[in-house]
């Protein structure tokens, strides 16, 4: 068994092998691998006795179920209206400079992906960003750089 197959089996043991188990399993694999590789999708299809096309169809529908490799820390800066008004472009610019990566890209060491997301539900405290599941409201360019600096140190 490959490492991915083992991971999938472990998650299926935990969440079950019904169709309703699919989302939690996909989410768990993204949680530990940072994306869904083709191998992972095929392994999940096999484990749940679904067609790979079906699993691929579900996975590719959802923005947070990445099917391209992402960094260990995925930064999602809200780009929707009020955060746009309150300066999300400056935040993104500062992070691009800091991480030497373009929006949508991943740092060469595989540590950070810098993405945009639609409204994160903190419009009264924009701009706001998510780093994996952690939320950081009321940021500025400087504050964002400081926060990501903390993750850089964390390794």
């Amino acid at each position: 068994m490959t490492r991915i197959e083992e991971l999938v089996k472990e998650q299926a043991d935990k969440h079950g092998r019904q169709r309703t188990s699919l989302m939690p399993i996909l989410q768990a694999v993204v949680g530990s691998e940072h994306y869904l590789s083709e191998d992972a999708l095929v392994a999940i299809a096999r484990e749940l006795d679904l067609s790979s096309a079906d699993v691929f169809g579900t996975a590719t529908f959802y923005t947070f179920l990445d099917t391209v490799p992402r960094g260990k820390y995925v930064i999602r800066v809200c780009k929707t209206i009020t955060c746009h008004m309150k300066g999300k472009d400056e935040v993104i610019g500062a992070l691009e400079d800091m991480l030497k990566v373009k929006l949508g890209g991943t740092t060469t060491d595989g540590k950070f992906s810098l993405l945009q997301a639609n409204c994160l539900g903190w419009c009264h405290k924009g701009p706001v960003m998510l780093v994996n599941d952690e939320v950081y409201p009321e940021i500025s360019a400087e504050k964002a750089v400081e926060i990501i600096g903390g993750y850089l140190k964390k390794g």
Binding site: T20, T80, T82, N118, C123, H124, D133
Partner: protein, 385 residues
């Protein structure tokens, strides 16, 4: 002018949720449902269906299993009140779900929580564990689980939500059948917004009169508003329904408000000249809570463009009017702005958006004309020049 905007504290008030549940379990399902109908409570997630009727339909179905779903997908731009409710008074949400379960005869409840709120999971799991222990003591058969979303606005639409829970692409279903007859896994299901469930609990506690006496004929009670944009006081406020936009802007504006977007990206843009005659509520402009204020420094072109790009990205792509329509509207206003198309092209685009209202399968595509037509009509020059 009299400012009759009243702040209310039904949602965030800390109450003994278990005492309310105990009291309710002594009454019959029909008595509680009648109270909820009598109160005039309408769903707080946007569509505004009468909550008591929804529960009655679900109750009247014969089935071996029924489900309660708490819709915590909250993806409408400018809405953040459900997150706050779940954070401040999670026990009231859980008790509201149990109350609904009791009324319709469901023993299983699910919270569909958007991925963006995953940081709430540890706290919610703790609250659910505690709640389950209390239910066990009472020998009351009801359990709650959480399903996480994965970043798709359309999954807030109740049938897309259930597709997602079933492990599929979040593509809305045809209605009918409605979820109350065939919902999650084909079983009768009551899908309720977070805020709706808490109001239902409070109505079970207080009786229908207090709630019914607030608000207007079509919009009873109070509502939690999410206020953002150009305002000195952004945040979350529970207000009595029935106010005009003028009253709202007097309270929350920065003195230079030129427009308010009521109801988020799928809502309507109201210009200053109409503040006075516009009621916030089902007889005027309804909102799931999102209120975004814009002052005269803002470009309405950029705002419309943001809304349309949002819809284009979030469209599930299942039906052509919405999938292609959103793309064409984004391209169309850009072409007019750049002078590639004449200003009269905007009328063509409005025809397209009217077609989307009629021909789209779900509320997402059907509501794109709301921001589009209202912004084009009110701020035509800003779109062209």
């Amino acid at each position: 002018m009299e400012n009759k905007m009243k702040k209310v504290d039904l949602i965030f008030d800390q109450v003994d949720h278990l005492a309310i549940l105990d009291k309710s379990l002594q009454r019959t399902q029909d008595e509680i449902i009648l109270d909820v109908i009598e109160s005039g409570l309408r769903g707080r997630g946007g569509a505004g269906f009468p909550t008591g009727l929804k529960w009655k339909f679900a109750k009247n179905e014969e089935a071996d299993q029924k489900y309660v779903i708490c819709n915590a997908d909250e993806g409408e731009p400018g809405t953040f009140k459900d997150r706050e409710i779940l954070t401040q008074v999670p026990d009231k949400v859980l008790a509201g779900m149990a109350l609904c379960g009791y009324c319709i005869g469901a023993t299983e409840g699910y919270i569909y929580l958007r991925a963006e709120y995953n940081f709430l999971l540890p706290m919610l799991h703790k609250a659910i564990d505690k709640f389950h222990k209390e239910l066990k003591k009472r020998d009351f058969d009801f359990s709650i689980r959480i399903c996480s979303g994965s970043g798709a606005y359309v999954c807030g639409e109740e049938t897309a939500l259930m597709e997602s829970m079933e492990g599929k692409r979040g593509e809305p279903r045809n209605k009918p059948p409605f979820p109350t007859s065939s919902g999650y896994l084909g079983k009768p299901t009551s899908v309720n917004n977070v805020e709706t469930l808490v109001f239902a609990l409070m109505i079970a506690q207080e009786g229908p009169t207090q709630f019914k006496e607030m608000g207007t004929f079509d919009s009873r009670g109070s509502k939690v508003f999410s206020v953002s944009g150009d305002t000195p006081t952004p945040g979350i406020f529970e207000l009595e329904l029935g106010m005009t936009l003028e009253q709202f802007v007097n309270e929350f504006g920065d003195g230079d408000t030129k427009a308010v977007q009521v109801g988020g990206a799928s809502g309507f843009c109201v210009a200053r000249k109409d503040f006075k005659n516009t009621l916030i509520g089902f007889e005027g402009i309804p909102t799931g809570g999102s209120m975004m204020l814009f002052n005269s420094s803002r470009s309405m072109y950029n705002i419309l463009n943001d809304y349309l790009e949002f819809m284009e990205e979030e469209s599930c792509g299942q039906c052509t009017p919405c999938r292609v329509g959103c793309q064409q509207l984004v391209k169309g206003i850009e072409a007019v702005k750049k002078g590639v198309k004449p200003p009269a092209y905007l009328e063509e685009l409005q025809k397209l958006s009217d077609t989307m209202r009629i021909a789209s399968k779900c509320g997402l595509g059907q509501s794109v004309p709301n921001p589009f037509n209202s912004i084009i009509q009110n701020f035509r020059e800003e779109i062209i020049y």
